[in-house]
Symmetry: C3
Subunit: 342 residues, 3 copies
């Protein structure tokens, strides 16, 4: 089942132009585009006439014209013209989804109720380009949403799957804390690795070398929003008691987990840093590294899903490293129960 | 369900040679070939022995030899030899389908009863090469037959889907007449566009430019035969009262709609004209244009079907432009009802 | 259903190295590899932790480390290390399959009971490199096991499907004997073709030309082991009464028929000869010819299966050439009955 009454990342801001983009989100086909003023619009990707994808239509001004028979819609989804007749039938309107563009990402409200603006994640690090530099991307995974949750909540896999980029032996061996905040629902995982090897991902960008303190603090807000606060610093130089931390290097690692179908998920990501701000070479290095890391996850989850699909009775053995993932599963299960109860 | 007791186009005449062609028609695999005298033969594409496709066999003289174990059939489908023994089992014959080669097209009778020769469409424009020049082709569409019927009966889509070749604004906006002739079953759609833009398809071939009178008169004989009478002429020069029309340019646009499976259809086409007869450059131009037009339909129907398959509850909103298509749907529905009642 | 309590060929010896190979055998995914001492190991290809394929793991010494989260197994399948904790859960062991490496082939025991060493086929011709030279290979066929049994038990198809390499007219026309030995289960087919054309496969390797005596004696031990004793000699020079046969050329043609899934099968093969021993040019010639022959079978069975899948009511007409295949089907059916009765 899908958790509908939530915000999900629908697209990278950079992906959207007047030529529409088709995306399947929570099982529904959505046509995303900008009108000629640059405003982002999201329609059900299906012309009410004969079902042709509106994403194959053409934007003219602030209207979208279907590419098969020319039914024409304004940005609210109201049908404003039909070929061969003057009267426009009232049933010819198309569903329009609430969307919010916020820095590098565009969010969509997939709920049937009114959008809950309170629950829209705030991502200042993707908006404030003066103090933060960010890169972003998206991959599609042919595996269900929950396998991506498992993956992101258990970072011990970095040591094995992402060895050579972000994985070092200590990620798997360092004890971590899990904290569950039910109101509002957040799962937090704190892994503070002190005096450990600095992986290439950070050594090449911070200039630090040898041993460092490396902290990974996850805030996962189910279902679709994951934020990893990464901190790299010289050994033994924690933040000051007042919270200031000028001697640490900070990176915010975002994931937007957006179910596409029951067995596929969009893996939106963004990296924002408070160091080397504005340096495009660093942007390019991090983007290239992260694309490779994400592809390793994509490959792993794709094959995991192919195997699971051919063996529905596959069992699991859980150990300590799974505590974060299990907490997330429990929170998602309660949210599903609550959604069913409505 | 399939309407079996009808003639369908099975192949282009030019496609058939002694090397057999396999085609799935109304869900049945058919092996089509010429024997060494040039006669067209159609067999069930399945050896009675172990089911190997006879289309992978070899024609020797007027016999076909199966490519797996050598069962041998004459042109009526009678098994005449079996390896390793002299006696030929009586159950080893293969079904042979009635076929008729008529100009550029080969028709097949898929019925279980005797072929109804009366109902075989007459296509003199594909046979009389002295007065008419014709080109033909075929595409396979991964969408059900009825989506192709909808497409061909509502030509207003030319304006949007085939813009730049045959589509002009007036195709979508000009009112048209629909006529239903139940005995024999024909749906006719008359669209007479007077003083309208001449699209590239006709301007380059007729030499007319600027405004023209452009008529499109459809005769659709369900299930499988569609003939569009196109007429292009200078503005205000209709046919004479006695029916003669020396000052008009005429093109017959044929479609053979042949269901392959429940979700795929062959889109046979032919264009025959009474101008520039014998000019191969015009043949090539029209063939190239038509292949592009058909590909636009193929692409549109393929995606329409993929979407419909993932959303079985897709609804429709019908408007005036759909009258021809709706009349065809009704006629097909009665034919299906009648077929079921037998 | 699968016949599990049997030995099957799992891999060519040459395929196995420390980098694991994944193979689906009798529906089960199996990871096959050598540890660093060269010993062959076969595991269920699924980490007990989260199901990740162990074939994507890494061999270090005599251990395999899972590529996702680092669960580590010794060669018996016992889990010896888990990341992030000292205690190893007892449920974390992985199933290890008995395997035997014997010359060019590696056999696996897929049964739930203890491996029956008595029933392991003896293949001295793949081991004794002093007197025999052998080549081997494997192809995967997208068709069920029983179609490959039919194919191999009825060699009359050589005349039609493998014309130009091993097929000559006489294979299809020569009468043959079928013998069924129920204890232990073996189906034998004897086809002695005397004074017949020598096909290219043998003429280029034996140096014989013109007419020869060509014998094909099949021993099929269901389900998975097939051995064809081929003998080529000058016309009228049979083996001596005491069984010696120095004037004949002998080739052993092996097939390992290993079901992969209900609708796919591995076609392992090996050719071993007692002539031109050690001549690598002859190895290469035979390997190339056999790969082409096997590909003809693969193509034929693939299409046969696609057709059968789309027509579950396909019927058959059996004739004399099918006696070997029918005997094999009967023996397999009794073995399945017996297996179900346990």
């Amino acid at each position: 089942m899908y958790l509908r009454e939530h915000w999900y990342v629908a697209a990278l801001s950079a992906e959207l132009e007047t030529r529409p983009l088709s995306r399947q989100i929570l099982g529904e086909y959505v046509a995303l585009f900008r009108n000629e003023s640059g405003q982002v619009v999201a329609f059900a990707d299906q012309c009410p006439h004969r079902g042709y994808p509106l994403s194959l239509g053409k934007v003219v001004g602030d209207q979208l014209i279907c590419g098969y028979h020319g039914f024409t819609f304004d940005c609210s989804g109201t049908c404003v013209a039909v070929p061969g007749q003057d009267r426009v039938p009232s049933k010819a309107d198309v569903r329009s989804y609430p969307v919010v563009e916020q820095g590098l990402w565009v969010w969509i409200w997939m709920g049937h109720g009114a959008p809950d603006m309170e629950s829209l994640p705030e991502t200042p690090w993707l908006v404030d380009t003066e103090h933060w530099s960010a890169v972003s991307g998206v991959a599609k995974i042919d595996a269900p949403f929950h396998l991506l949750v498992d993956n992101l909540l258990d970072l011990s896999h970095e040591t094995y799957l992402h060895n050579g980029s972000i994985g070092t032996p200590e990620v798997a061996t360092t004890p971590f804390e899990v904290e569950v905040d039910n109101e509002p629902g957040v799962v937090r995982v704190f892994r503070h690795m002190n005096a450990v090897e600095c992986p290439p991902f950070y050594s090449r960008t911070t200039g630090l070398s040898g041993q460092v303190d490396r902290w990974q603090d996850i805030d996962y807000t189910p279902p679709g929003y994951y934020l990893l606060h990464a901190r790299i610093a010289n050994v033994g130089e924690p933040p000051l008691p007042d919270g200031t931390d000028d001697h640490g290097f900070h990176m915010k690692i975002f994931y937007g987990l957006t179910p596409s179908t029951e067995t596929s998920v969009y893996d939106f990501w963004a990296l924002s840093r408070d160091f080397c701000v504005g340096e495009s070479e660093i942007d390019q290095f991090l983007e290239k590294m992260q694309i490779a890391v994400v592809q390793e996850d994509v490959d792993a989850l794709n094959i995991l899903q192919r195997r699971a699909a051919s063996n529905p009775e596959m069992t699991e053995v859980s150990v300590k490293i799974d505590r974060g993932g299990l907490a997330a599963r429990r929170m998602l299960a309660s949210m599903e129960e609550a959604a069913l109860a409505i």
